[in-house]
Subunit: 295 residues, 2 copies
């Protein structure tokens, strides 16, 4: 069985691992994202060290973005216009490929997470599904017919425009680009700004969660109508609030109003809108799934 | 060059053709959609008659819906729950395949139209794009990586929820399922209900068109964020109002607010949001493209 390296390249933390899957993750390390030189240097050193004696067949990088995923582009494999200091126009894939001398698979963080769930987690039995992560921001990706969603750039599902009833919720939203897009209304920092306390400090029965479920349900409903996914995985820090799942499922059914006559939506929504299954190592496992696909 | 049959199976009219492409459409006929027996019977008789001496390699059907596109389903190739009298649970694909004895490709009307544009029209150079048709209803489909969008059922882009400013537009929307979804606010009958006259009778400078462009731009923006298409084709009867294209392009740019740093959106939006190119025979040509893909 071939050995792979995986890098979950986050804007705050890098997680690197070597292994073949969830039951064989031989070594994992994580460190803060500092300069590209230092951070990529540490990742390269770790992967070299951990593959002495058994070379890596490939490496996968699930990367914070926006990233260039177009193989015909001169900047393919780069982070493009991030506000993250020092990282704009960084050729992440190229530097790793050059230093490690193996094929390097490269995709968005959320497409990586989706691939991991497809390989070992909550989406093993479906080929077309969405993975939405709700945390500091809202990101979305997924697979269509078993292939990670790319296109012109890559999906930016967090910035969907959703109905915003300003009588019910006068909060203006905090997205610096769009104000009250989905991320502006429903990411963790929006909860904190609206309610004056950190999301995780809000009680389970606080009205914040019904409103949060409303916006996430509107976003999920639009993604179901746009893409017809066979499953919707909702992950990220905000989704640690497990009371959100039943609230979102019910509102999605109400919003679709019986229009989609699919048993998955009408009768089995507990298995249609689900949490991820890979837990704390999802990011690095997704990167390993990406490596596996690249080899 | 193989000869194909194409059927544009609409809820009002069937258009049938035999040929190999836009420059070789040898025979075309159209007739009203009555009962399934009579209508499919006429289509079968036409295709048999027109292929005497040169047998068809395959037939494609671009069908009104909702339809079952899941090849593993017992009702694959059927129209499912349509309100169209007599047509619910009609096995369109099966009846044609049995009567004609050739492979029959089957997809939604809008996926068929998208395939035709990919083969011969406005999307020849891209693999991931959206086709939105705005007429009596609003339908959407497209290709992802060159493959028509299916999934759980198929996209239902017309029913996206978009922001609706009831101060600017107190009209409640006319979708029987959702009220003010995109179709409920912006399909042809919504224009007629809101303004008290048929859409085509409204002057080019009527405020109706700025409002119409607002809703269509919100829908297109959400589809761009959800799917990252390389192009967006807008067709259908309402889009005959050519003043809509520049209004929609400008609003999409404003709504994205520079967030997607893609030249296609920022600098070349006239080539990004475009009308279809196949004109009046687009439906039947899409069905022929579907046949070609099926053979």
């Amino acid at each position: 069985m071939a050995l792979y390296g995986g890098i979950e390249a986050g804007g705050t933390t890098f997680v690197c691992g070597v292994g073949t899957g969830p039951d064989d993750l031989r070594a994992v390390t994580e460190f803060a994202t500092t300069t590209p030189e230092e951070t990529l240097g540490r990742a390269i050193a770790f992967l070299k060290e951990e593959s002495i004696g058994e070379p890596l067949a490939a490496v996968g990088v699930a990367c914070f973005g926006p990233v260039d995923l177009n193989p015909r582009s001169p900047t393919f494999g780069s982070i493009t216009s991030t506000p993250k200091q020092g990282w704009a126009n960084t050729d992440v894939r190229g530097r790793l490929a050059q230093a490690l001398g193996v094929p390097v698979g490269f995709d968005t963080d959320v497409n990586g997470a989706a691939l991991g769930e497809h390989r070992w987690g909550a989406a093993q039995d479906v080929a077309t599904f969405i993975y939405l992560t709700v945390g500091t921001g809202i990101g979305g990706g997924g697979l269509v017919g078993g292939v990670p969603m790319h296109g012109l750039v890559h999906p930016e599902m967090g910035h969907l425009r959703v109905p915003h009833d300003r009588v019910r919720d006068p909060f203006k939203g905090i997205c610096p680009f769009h104000g009250d897009c989905l991320e502006g209304l429903a990411a963790g920092p929006a909860l904190e700004a609206r309610w004056g306390q950190r999301a995780e400090a809000l009680p389970v029965d606080h009205p914040a969660w019904v409103l949060e479920a409303e916006y996430l349900a509107l976003g999920v409903t639009n993604l179901i109508l746009a893409l017809s996914p066979e499953r919707v995985i909702l992950g990220g820090g905000v989704m640690q609030q497990e009371q959100l799942y039943p609230l979102i499922r019910q509102r999605v059914q109400e919003l679709l109003a019986g229009y989609l006559e699919a048993p998955a939506v009408l009768d089995e929504i507990e298995r249609y809108i689900v949490p991820p299954e890979l837990g704390g190592r999802a990011g690095v496992l997704g990167a390993i799934a990406l490596a596996e696909m690249t080899e």
